[in-house]
Symmetry: C2
Subunit: 452 residues, 2 copies
């Protein structure tokens, strides 16, 4: 499917609301966590499998073209459509694309300045097979109470069949909000032309005209969020929501309570630099090496705090990858192998450090048992994933074992705690027990799932 991005407007309110010296123009190029709004929209589309994109430019269009170029940097093909009528209204920008897109059975229409996750756009694309000629499907949000500054939003009245009855910024009777993403057929061009003849040039005018003929349907955005960035408060809210969405429902307890609270603000800072996720994975490994070195030197609390730092940094690589659409399979591979080495080196450092300090040979038994158990959680999960094609969900398959803190966040936190109190043998013993109990316990737990 092809997509049309509207990027012709001036965005005066963002300009006026922004602090001096922080004025970014034109608005589609405004940076947000390391990517401009327009780049976010392009990458969102690519994530949804759209590879051919048309951008309608108007205000300072040359700047946009110089910045985005042919799109190859983003893995898509970008072409430009100039709209010298852009001051009239955004409907004119859609009309400017009529010649290019009128023969498409359907195409996606999206605003350059609307921020949302790929999952939101996906909801609309999934209904593509149902769109009939002449119709337009609109992504709508029924969670009106959660919409940021609803007074600025375009409201819609949707009936129980999803048919849109009315649309407008100031309608009184509404039950949802237009999210600014449309699945269009060429019907939109006729409607906008007709409206233009009557002097109305907004996209919502065209949609209203189609809606009166029963040709517009709403598609629920569900639990996803979206933000129309008009001024600096919107921008701040978009930033907040993007960062908040980095939390994963699969995070362990320590991740949830501690690590994410530290890693997300760090990611917020790192996102606007050129630091890549793989660099952070490597940094995470280096910090683990430093932790091991500190343990060998007998600096228990330093080693422990460095181990916990590694756990925090371990979150940042994935967060940056998701924030900036930089996730690669190689990154996931690189990260998980280096994590296992980091874990192993920390355990080895604790063991050797304790031995050098106390000459107690039994520590090698504890250390070896902890070393053996350390990679087993990941081994089991990856083997499961490789065999079934589905990720291993501890909360689904682990039964009561899911309360064992044998994930990386739990293990490194235990190490920090024990190190602060100088209880290295105790920590190594606990690690040895929980990791190996989990591995053998899973042999029982996954039996039902994996036996056919």
């Amino acid at each position: 499917m092809k997509a049309l991005i509207l990027a012709a407007g001036e965005g005066r309110r963002l300009k006026e609301s922004a602090a001096k010296g922080k004025i970014y123009f034109p608005k589609p190029l405004t940076p947000l966590l390391g990517l401009s709004l327009l780049e976010r929209t392009i990458l969102n589309l690519r994530e949804n499998g759209i590879e051919e994109i048309f951008i309608v430019t108007g205000y300072q269009g040359e700047k946009i073209k110089r910045f985005i170029k042919d799109g190859s940097r983003y893995g898509v093909k970008v072409s430009y459509i100039d709209n010298d009528q852009w001051t009239k209204g955004n409907g004119s920008s859609v009309l400017a694309a009529e010649r290019t897109l009128k023969k498409e059975s359907s195409f996606l229409l999206i605003m350059a300045d609307h921020v949302m996750q790929p999952g939101a756009v996906k909801k609309l694309l999934e209904s593509d097979e149902q769109v009939k000629p002449g119709e337009v499907y609109v992504l709508v949000d029924y969670k009106c109470q959660k919409v940021f500054r609803i007074e600025e939003a375009t409201k819609v009245l949707v009936d129980s069949d999803g048919r849109i009855l009315d649309i407008g910024k100031d309608i009184k009777d509404y039950n949802a909000v237009d999210c600014g993403v449309f699945l269009c057929t060429s019907g939109i061009f006729q409607a906008l032309s007709d409206e233009a003849l009557e002097g109305r040039h907004a996209l919502s005018d065209g949609i209203r005209r189609l809606a009166k003929n029963g040709m517009v349907k709403g598609v629920d955005i569900g639990e996803e969020w979206w933000i129309d960035v008009d001024d600096k408060w919107d921008l701040e809210e978009a930033r907040k929501r993007l960062l908040e969405s980095l939390r994963s429902p699969r995070d362990g307890l320590i991740s949830k309570l501690i690590n994410r609270r530290l890693s997300i603000p760090i990611s917020g800072l790192v996102a606007s630099t050129r630091v890549t996720p793989n660099m952070i994975s490597f940094l995470n490994f280096l910090v683990a090496c430093l932790s091991a070195a500190a343990f060998i030197k007998g600096l228990w609390p330093v080693g422990g705090l460095l181990a916990q730092s590694a756990a925090v940094i371990d979150g940042v690589d994935g967060e940056i990858a998701r924030l900036k659409y930089m996730a690669t399979k190689y990154g996931a591979y690189f990260d998980s192998i280096l994590d296992r080495y980091g874990d192993a080196l920390i355990i080895f450092g604790m063991t050797l450090g304790w031995y050098l300090a106390h000459s107690e040979v039994f520590i090698w038994l504890l250390g070896s048992a902890a070393l053996i158990g350390s990679p087993m959680s990941m081994l089991g999960k990856e083997k499961f994933h490789a065999l079934t094609g589905n990720p291993y969900y501890p909360e689904k398959y682990d039964g009561f074992l899911r309360y064992v803190p044998a994930n990386r966040d739990g293990r490194l936190f235990l190490i920090m705690l024990g190190s602060i109190f100088g209880q290295l043998p105790l920590v190594l013993g606990i690690l040895a027990v929980i990791t190996n109990v989990l591995a053998f316990g899973r042999l029982v737990m996954v039996r039902k799932v994996l036996c056919r």
Copy 2:
């Protein structure tokens, strides 16, 4: 798709050729490596996704029914069709199924006493979409020089388009051999009826009739093999080929040269018992534990030989699973986790044993490094598989690293060699180097494959 298995014949030649006291009857129930010929055929079909099977019985049909029952034990639905005309010829057995199958657009026809791998049947099934009404597709083998006792086989003459021109046991002009598997449409029933009216009752008579009208095509079995089991020599050859097919192109060098040569004969013996693959995986783990115990006791050569025994037994579980269609995802999971524990315990045993014997602390450094590297090969492979959905092929991705003997077969063989010569520190050092070099080397090697 439904399938029809012909199991009505007497199999007199097998009876006559078998040694006294070793007479199995009726022939479809003759055991071959732990499964009867008929069970092998049923499980082969299930492996190919066929779940509804009709078996034509004649000679001692009640015995067959009592043995196979409703097929639920094999994960399929089995129904029976009695053919009291079976002495006339095998065409009569196909005709007995006319009422049951004539409305199917196509069905698979296979002989109960033909042994082959699921991959062979799959070749024929893959051409299902091309079969036109009235046609029959025959699985044929162009590797005439490799066919076991070709004088007994039904030959076919196939033209360059795959069209079969002639078929028969005694035709002089042929270029391939009929493998006894057919993709039929209802055309076969008409042809067999017509032949029967003229007094000919063999399946090949019906096929010849269709072939004369250009309605029969040959589908190449390719590199797969097949055997029509008529007497004890055929049975012996089938056994040999089934066992030989247990070798895997992905076996490491030591596996190829040593371990498989021992494990395959063991599997040949174990197959006819009730021992399951998971029991063998567990035995493999126990032998690894014994090896570790021997090392701790200072019995280097005993420990080394037990380690190598574990490597041999490690082949048997998978071989039995494939031989007896018992492969499950759980078995693969169970085996690989226990293997990692076995490996780790052997390394730990060597380290502790050497320390107890010599009180040299440096052995713990070597042991720890070897313990850290030991699971990394599997970790990398499984992560790759989980990320891409495809197995990791060392020969494809490892570059020059594929010559590093860091797979389990190589590692355990090194341990045996070193132990016999009492060189435990040397072996642990080598293991530490090769496993960790491989893990870090792969971080470089897989970059191209995994970066999009």
